[in-house]
Symmetry: C2
Subunit: 342 residues, 2 copies
């Protein structure tokens, strides 16, 4: 955990960078000897010390969160930390990988208070313990812009068992884990766009937005059962389109098959237009995958074993694009198919 | 190379994110099959495909650059790209590692023009070719803040041959590569603080600031000859203090022994006060290391072989802090000992 270039900026509110690293971040790395206590210029991942096993390959993923873009400036530090880690872990889950270590680049505005950073470090610690990953190193910098956090996770899979977007085959069934739409509806709730929703439902949806559940155990156990995989971050239809594009196939999904939480189902009953948000809104961090229909029973059983329901929502066909059918079998054309970032 | 969360923001000036990745970044990853053409959610680093050799361990480093903090908003894209890659490669050099792949998180303000990004990608390509590294994956996001770029490099060293900050021993000699102070004087030149300096000298110093030279070959050949190592990014005295802190030793260096470029020497002749900038200013990206004095001849010879002069500037002693002696052997107390980032 070192520092980059010729930064500047001062604040009264929190300790200097070295104290910050020593007090908040070094404890997150103490179980990992390759981090050198965050006191060196780099971290080490030994291939012979039991963290990486013979015959494995590493899986690398980088994802950044920016205040005002991916989270709200008022969000508590521990929730931001856990979301940051979990959106990256969700990609490892979709690749069937087990997590090993992560690197963190934290770009901190001078106004950010030490208490917020303490809470942020506590959130990282909680999720390190939950998901079995540890901080290896990183970088802290002062920024004149909003708080920006970039995280790179490193995981491992058995060599030759990559789960790719591009592996969907015509005739595959399309499956999702968990429930779809909760995250996007939770963001709508935070933005005050949900009228007439019971507080308990709103709380459930907001929690689903703020705290993704990376399906790590499920992902690792999908290896050998499935073809294409990815996690749903940009929206179900948009992300399924990514699978279709990469695999040179089309897909058809049925709205009536979508697994919905009670809160989401209640929303759609009140105002059916929210289906657009459910299928296009993103922030699900559930797994989306294709598999031979003959594997459906095994997949359903696997879902029961790991405590995450698995639902068949459609199929892969010839063609290029994703078709969405309503309860009457009529095609509906979503206004949005996923977030675009520019 | 995927996208994070629910970003937003539009611009007329440049293509959408997927086109941007396909047109500018995917070509940087095409030689590395584990990048999956930047079309999947993660990248793969196989431990069996010849990129990592048996008996090696990985070296990980993350460093971020932010516009207005670490580079100027007016700096051309290729120079920023190369600085970004090189400040990270400089850390790999200090660890004796050879580079393998890197991950990039690019946080792009809507106002940033496509032409600048094209130039940025060209700079990455030039340095990939020069240093034998390749893009593995990453993340692009729109930001309401300044352009921010976080890069994680992965390199490798033979297991058991780590070069640490903490390995300095009492009696060691202290060495540096190249010349010291050019980068910090170059920044002063850009800021219009250098009076009476010939344009050719100013150009040389500015180039040294903008384009660090990671001493990768030298670093790898230092293994077995040296004790503690690091690269000088925050300033010679401050970084040597880091070695002393980590190694629980003190150090004494002599101003008269410092290797200076002709341009820096001319500056010091005009205004000796610039010595403060030379020893405290940072942005050198030269290697700083300690070794038994008996290795001096071998080190000097190695420097000749790789084309980077190596100079003995002092010694490691008992104590805790870095002492700086002037030409008369009197201790001088620098006003600054390195940049602090908060």
């Amino acid at each position: 955990m070192a520092t980059g270039g010729s930064g500047s900026g001062t604040t009264q509110e929190r300790p200097g960078e070295f104290e910050l690293i020593a007090s908040l971040f070094a404890p997150l790395a103490q179980e990992f000897s390759g981090a050198c206590g965050l006191e060196d210029d780099a971290a080490y991942l030994a291939l012979t010390d039991g963290l990486v096993h013979t015959g494995e390959e590493l899986v690398l993923k980088t994802d950044a969160l920016i205040a005002g873009v991916h989270f709200l400036k008022s969000d508590p530090g521990d929730m931001v930390a856990r979301k940051l880690l979990r959106v990256n872990l969700s990609d490892l889950a979709a690749k069937g990988a087990r997590p090993i270590v992560y690197m963190l680049a934290a770009m901190l505005p001078a106004s950010l208070e030490y208490g917020w950073l303490q809470c942020f470090a506590q959130g990282l610690k909680a999720d390190q313990d939950e998901f079995g990953i540890v901080l290896a190193g990183g970088d802290t910098d002062a920024t004149p812009g909003p708080l920006a956090l970039s995280l790179t996770v490193i995981g491992a899979i058995p060599a030759g068992q990559r789960l790719l977007r591009s592996a969907a085959k015509v005739g595959d069934a399309v499956f999702v884990s968990g429930t779809i739409g909760d995250g996007a509806l939770g963001l709508a709730a935070i933005l005050g766009q949900l009228d007439g929703v019971p507080q308990s439902d709103a709380d459930f949806l907001v929690n689903r937005y703020r705290l993704p559940r990376p399906r790590l155990e499920l992902g690792q156990r999908l290896r050998g059962l499935v073809h294409a995989t990815m996690d749903i971050s940009d929206g179900l239809v948009g992300d399924l389109q990514h699978i279709c594009d990469a695999s040179h196939v089309g897909a058809t999904i049925e709205i009536s098959r979508l697994p919905l939480s009670d809160a989401a189902r209640a929303m759609l009953t009140i105002a059916p237009v929210w289906v657009e948000t459910v299928i296009g809104g993103g922030d699900d961090y559930e797994l989306l995958f294709t598999a031979p229909p003959s594997h459906q029973e095994a997949l359903t059983s696997l879902g029961r074993n790991v405590g995450v329901p698995i639902t068949r929502i459609g199929s892969i066909d010839v063609g290029k694009r994703v078709r969405v059918l309503d309860a009457d079998g009529q095609e509906i054309v979503p206004r949005t198919t996923g977030y675009h970032h520019f």
